[in-house]
Symmetry: D2
Amino acid sequence: MAGDTFGRLFTVTTFGESHGPAMGCVVDGCPPGLELAESDIQHDLDRRRPGRSRHVTQRKEPDQVTILSGVFEGLTTGTAIGLLVQNVDQRSRDYSKIKDKFRPGHSDYTYQHKYGIRDYRGGGRASARETVMRVAAGAIARKYLAERAGIRINGYLAELGPFELKPLDLDAVNDNPFFCPEPARLNALDGFMDRLRRAGDSIGARINVIASNVPIGLGEPVFDKLEADLAHALMSINAVKGVEFGDGFRCIQQRGSEHRDEITPDGFEKNSSGGTLGGISSGQDILASIALKPTSSIQVPGRTVDTEGKAAEIVTTGRHDPCVGLRATPIAEAMVALTLMDHYLRDRAQNADVREAEPAMTESV
Amino acid sequence: MAGDTFGRLFTVTTFGESHGPAMGCVVDGCPPGLELAESDIQHDLDRRRPGRSRHVTQRKEPDQVTILSGVFEGLTTGTAIGLLVQNVDQRSRDYSKIKDKFRPGHSDYTYQHKYGIRDYRGGGRASARETVMRVAAGAIARKYLAERAGIRINGYLAELGPFELKPLDLDAVNDNPFFCPEPARLNALDGFMDRLRRAGDSIGARINVIASNVPIGLGEPVFDKLEADLAHALMSINAVKGVEFGDGFRCIQQRGSEHRDEITPDGFEKNSSGGTLGGISSGQDILASIALKPTSSIQVPGRTVDTEGKAAEIVTTGRHDPCVGLRATPIAEAMVALTLMDHYLRDRAQNADVREAEPAMTESV
Amino acid sequence: MAGDTFGRLFTVTTFGESHGPAMGCVVDGCPPGLELAESDIQHDLDRRRPGRSRHVTQRKEPDQVTILSGVFEGLTTGTAIGLLVQNVDQRSRDYSKIKDKFRPGHSDYTYQHKYGIRDYRGGGRASARETVMRVAAGAIARKYLAERAGIRINGYLAELGPFELKPLDLDAVNDNPFFCPEPARLNALDGFMDRLRRAGDSIGARINVIASNVPIGLGEPVFDKLEADLAHALMSINAVKGVEFGDGFRCIQQRGSEHRDEITPDGFEKNSSGGTLGGISSGQDILASIALKPTSSIQVPGRTVDTEGKAAEIVTTGRHDPCVGLRATPIAEAMVALTLMDHYLRDRAQNADVREAEPAMTESV
Amino acid sequence: MAGDTFGRLFTVTTFGESHGPAMGCVVDGCPPGLELAESDIQHDLDRRRPGRSRHVTQRKEPDQVTILSGVFEGLTTGTAIGLLVQNVDQRSRDYSKIKDKFRPGHSDYTYQHKYGIRDYRGGGRASARETVMRVAAGAIARKYLAERAGIRINGYLAELGPFELKPLDLDAVNDNPFFCPEPARLNALDGFMDRLRRAGDSIGARINVIASNVPIGLGEPVFDKLEADLAHALMSINAVKGVEFGDGFRCIQQRGSEHRDEITPDGFEKNSSGGTLGGISSGQDILASIALKPTSSIQVPGRTVDTEGKAAEIVTTGRHDPCVGLRATPIAEAMVALTLMDHYLRDRAQNADVREAEPAMTESV
């Protein structure tokens, strides 16, 4: 259990390196009887795929998924689902420049010390390419949650460097390569990214994710609070440095009389809590927000050391995303889907009797 | 596994309600041979204990810990450590006012729907009293980490409502009931809290935690990144709504050339990353920061519904902390200690050969 | 996770040593709404209690259980259940004879080498006293399974040394201290045990456990087959050296045409499989059988070494069971109950949709 | 976590069906720096492969393994190892005879009820083909254990129907398709199997596994005793109905003075315990023994019901092993290797300090 498995009941175990032959995963614990075809997964993979615009890595990967097991005659069987995506553009090149140097801000340094060895080709296991299987597995969770519980999970780019983007048009999010919810600002974003790319630099971003129609009762009281498990899920995405829910860090300045969400017979008056109370979903929208750091693989020269500890200068060439945030929306959605799916099954395991006994109750408020 | 266990190798399983007879936990996986007495644990419990100032709950709890197992002749034996703290001031009172109403911002509503039943006395399992066993278990982790690896974990109050507090005097943190690192501002804090209490309201806060001398190599590459597991740990504390590491949400506005921590033969130039790279500790200080919401148990009347769904008004009397942040510093430190301890053992399990083979390597940079 | 937790969804975490102040456990994941009083647990503890006859250890332990949390107004709340049993007869005596010697067949030797330290008082954590919390937790599982699913779990002494005992009268099992299902042979057993005790020796035994009315569908296809998890559960009981299901080791000589249980519209024709097919319960009775070795704490002198590796002779005095099998029936039943409970919840988590969709199906055959 | 993952620290997660495109697994937690090539794994796969003699299934599978990740320049990197074996002979045929009928003794019945759906082609997930990835993953564990700790794991056929086979020549085991340790009886076995095949019937078997040079200290005291985890591992193999260690079920008739293994300065006098004391390895050989039932897929007609519950007759044609025990030796060895590997890492995580402090101690006795 070296951390390549996510979840307790609906689990995803992934493998694969940037420049190896393939990325893959095993999804275990999926309920049987779910209609599932490769196209259901492909849709989300296409949203994440590199090369959708000039602002992201130009690596050409079709990211075509194959279902190797767990589906029979179009339905999940309840047994382990094996998924595979071939790597087709793991360009053979000269790694001598980075082989013996640690790129600042990159995992080179820590992998080398932890394991005494590292696969330096394209970042190896630390490559953002690792997230492809998160999205693939997340697509299955998402489909189940939508069909059985009506849960919807939608993300968008909320900030990019100096730009704050309002969720004015969520329908437009999937129509532009920025996952931007303010179409009027696409030109400005294009210009900003073009200038950034010419400077050989990168920029940070914020992604927001909203999960709607989540039933009351998901999450556990103490260590596995819903937002604790979501924080784990989201913080495990490459480059994420902060996670908050609802009013998040704005709570610090708030008074209790201002923060609490009052309740009326028509429901909650607002959603400062971000959809959980005491670690358990309240039936309101789950509101999660993450900060992604600017990618460290930039062309601005930087100081570093080599594997012998001697001073060196480094410039990262190759194919990199100048803003990892640009492709992070489907990844963040996938991690939210996986977490909700796991807690949906966990809650059902323990509390099915409550749901059976008092079906009307979950309707109230 | 309803979420009352934390950790994979060094595990803590807790139980207990605010108004039950006792709080307790089982610490499993502790290495043998550690000198351990009740006084080692008591020290941290005393730092968290209620009643240290007029600004926190006036419940009188000595929080005296008893070691029930796992220690023999003053040394841990490697077997399960049972800890118990009696509840002595679980005042018998009239709960009729809250029994049938959901306090806004509180877990009443979600527990009732999830479980179909709730222990409404003092918040039951959702009480902040639950954190007493986190601190007790954390004290054991902390002692081991300090003695075997020299790791130090120190937290402080970084913000309280409008106050931003700088870490000017970390030695003073434990000498005041605010865990405030700017002693000059204690009077102002006292005044602010007095006014708040008179208003019957509450306030949010930020706690920072620094872990120093953490060895390179703790954390796993994909889902169990060190900061992901820390985020899980910290977000599981009652009232926490946000977690960030290093520059955290400030990354959004940063460029890669500004964010990355350059490396020289003398070490890293700065610590924007907060002590991890690619999910693995870099040898720099771990810098974690959390936002705590203002407590929902306030005396300002608020709108709610009763268990029948009818509109109602609520005023929470009883003994409550007007700022949960005031007592959160030792709790946050404990959760960081438990997470580091777990990863210390996880890393040793997988990578002991690397440490043995290349002892010099971990010295470099 | 040093192995003091059992289960995935319905988990039990235990602690306590033979001569420490108390034994305890945390039961996590129990469904809410189950009526539970200390007397429900006490009944099974009394069946396991030492001192029920002259053939078992004469240690006087009332084994009175206290529920410390997780129950409110007589119902489980869904949160962690803390249980405690005080040790009252941990007689203070002279351990100098065993302190520096390894009793053959006992864990002294392995604990000392594994941990570098051992609590030699009464066997410490390795004492059969550890099983008291298995029985306490098992009583909760058993009550839930009986009330919600009608599952019954009954064990009996099937062999004791040269005696083979047939399940002629299962109602009589709880009326005699041997858990013997052949009351006519009680006098012979009494005589055998008296002679054995006078010889200062001990004897092995076999316990059979039958679980009836188990629904079809418990267990997972690959590593967590129901009988694999039951084998883990039963083999974890002190002194157990073998586990078999249905025809067990007799299968070796059988032909397929003889072993397979044919099916007719009225059900299975026989039960050679012991209630599982492909790792999943078939609706037939689960038939488990275990072998317990003779206890190693005997008064017949034996050769050993001391902690310095020098030859020594050892005689174990003190209070010991000459046949651990005599008190093992309630313990084996408890482990079966805990395993079935865990799989009942696991199956419900994944397959609730199947049960809802095709309720009639589980009736068939 | 639907049971397709084995282990806590060295974990294996498998997927694949008999007639799907491929079998695969993810091995997580492998220590870095282990030399690993496909040929290292292939050796054990070839020992398990179908078609090695006329007595096993004639399905033609090269079982060629591909390493998809986790190995760089011939060394494990510490990250997840993905393995894949293509299915090449999943013959397309007519399943109408078994599609709507439950083969007695087979998992058809339980899968259909548990999941409401089953992949009936060749047994789907319940096929013995599932074990191919156990052997592949086990080969990695075995290599590590051999190189770093000198542990050797060897199995053999100990019984086949009426034949009891003595371990007279363990070197010969891998030279015959029976894994028989008594070469003189190969002709007799050949004749027995030929007659059995002509009768269209099948037979049970016993496999013994010996693990030598296991260090003292592997295993945990309570639920995760070494033999409990080994029992889980071995009982999870298809068709296994019994597991025993050391004297196993023979303990029932033994006296304590006869069973206990006395200790002298030269070591233990014998090995009735099978290599563990109190759940922890004693440094003696681990002696495990399993019973495998005769396969249920036979050509002798049998009574069953169809999916509508009506009486039916069934004859299983197709390619099947008349004695699953014949190919089980490498599978049982693999499961022992995986369990020992997991506990080797678990012990190192908790007790590395003991090993460092008292290196001489583990030499004693």
